[in-house]
Symmetry: C2
């Protein structure tokens, strides 16, 4: 018997209820684009990111804290908010020292689900901070849940690929009795040579959605490793750097 | 725009609510072992197979119809039933002309979910009848939902592989705007050379569960194509041959 901690992958928020995460580090994965944007804003000096469930709460907190309000619904800036969900909207010159209140379709919702389930720790994962996530998981030696935000609960390719990338790097440090994890890793192995090309060739639904909005630059950034290699942790309602 | 019908894959019963299947042919997939066994029993001359949700109803109907009662819970013959869920329990000499009442952990439950959602047609899929399923889907030219029974709602490898096998063969006849389908197909491409070896190497959870019961022969059979190449359809509460 192995004494390694367990690692699982949950391919959709609609499957999270199947798992006990009370002893796990939950990695929230919403590659296109919530978690890539959170990581980028923090790397560029944002004081913290406050993830909220809905638009009205986003506006309310933004007002209270004189913070930047941002968020999207169905891939577009939500009505009444100032900024969207593109990592390129948060360069150092703009976001340094500021608080960002963010609401997104899938990512923040999943984070609150993990919180409600009593996750031991919640961290933010994206290709932009792949190494920081992997280093943390190896260092902590705790059970891990790689939680994909998916798209309206439907499994998506990019979050699955990121789960696969993590497993590819740190899998040998964990006991993995989880077919979803093996599926994710195989998928990543197939695509790792050129993730953008893989998404394109395989007709990834989100690839088409964002390309339709003219966001190729965002997709390419969000699929690149270690562009903003910091580790956001959830603490007292805020995402802050480790 | 394409006029091809749509094809989706649902990797777990817990995700079925995300899809409207009222215009779709739903393929119920429970490779290890419910759908492989249903297909085999019908190919060997069973008059029909009646899928039921629970063990007590299985016994009740079995008595009423003087039928063979069978089913498993957690991979073992359920208490009070006569037979289990192995295709090898239903050779021609035994099952020909008989009615089989079957309850299984995941497969029959999913079938009833699809029924409740008003599926246009329900058919049974397994590697044992891969060609029959594919031929039917191409011939019908209707929307398709490949519905994986999974294991207690957790995504599993073998059902995903079968969905991938179907897509690999008939995908070009359909519009596929569904990342789960692309994941399944990629997975199948990786494993198709030797599915048994793929399941073993990738630590498929069900592979270990059944190997632990000494069922390697069952696994090998259930991963082999066209061993019982007939098409079971659900009609008036029964599974019968097309």
């Amino acid at each position: 018997m192995s004494n390694k901690p367990n690692l699982h992958t949950c391919l959709s928020p609609a499957l999270l209820h199947l798992y006990d995460v009370s002893n796990s580090i939950v990695v929230i994965i919403d590659v296109l684009r919530a978690t890539s944007t959170i990581v980028t804003a923090l790397n560029n000096g944002a004081r913290c990111v406050i993830p909220v469930d809905d638009v009205s709460r986003c506006k309310e907190i933004g007002k209270q804290m004189q913070a930047v309000t941002a968020g999207e619904r169905d891939g577009k800036i939500a009505e009444g908010l100032e900024y969207g969900n593109s990592p390129f909207e948060y360069p150092k010159e703009f976001i340094e020292g500021k608080t960002l209140v963010l609401t997104t379709t899938n990512g923040t919702r999943l984070l609150h689900m993990a919180l409600d389930k009593g996750a031991r720790e919640i961290v933010i994962g994206s290709f932009a901070n792949l190494s920081a996530v992997c280093d943390h998981l190896v260092e902590m030696k705790k059970d891990v849940m790689l939680a994909c935000a998916a798209w309206k609960d439907r499994v998506n390719m990019e979050d699955t690929l990121f789960a696969g990338a993590v497993i590819n790097r740190v899998g040998e440090n964990f006991t993995i009795n989880c077919d979803s994890s093996h599926l994710a890793e195989k998928m990543y192995e197939k695509g790792k040579k050129d993730l953008f090309d893989f998404m394109k060739k395989n007709d990834a639904s989100h690839y088409h959605r964002l390309m339709g909005f003219g966001l190729e630059k965002d997709i390419r950034y969000c699929l690149s490793a270690d562009e903003a290699n910091v580790l956001p942790l959830y603490k007292d309602g805020k995402l802050v750097l480790k």
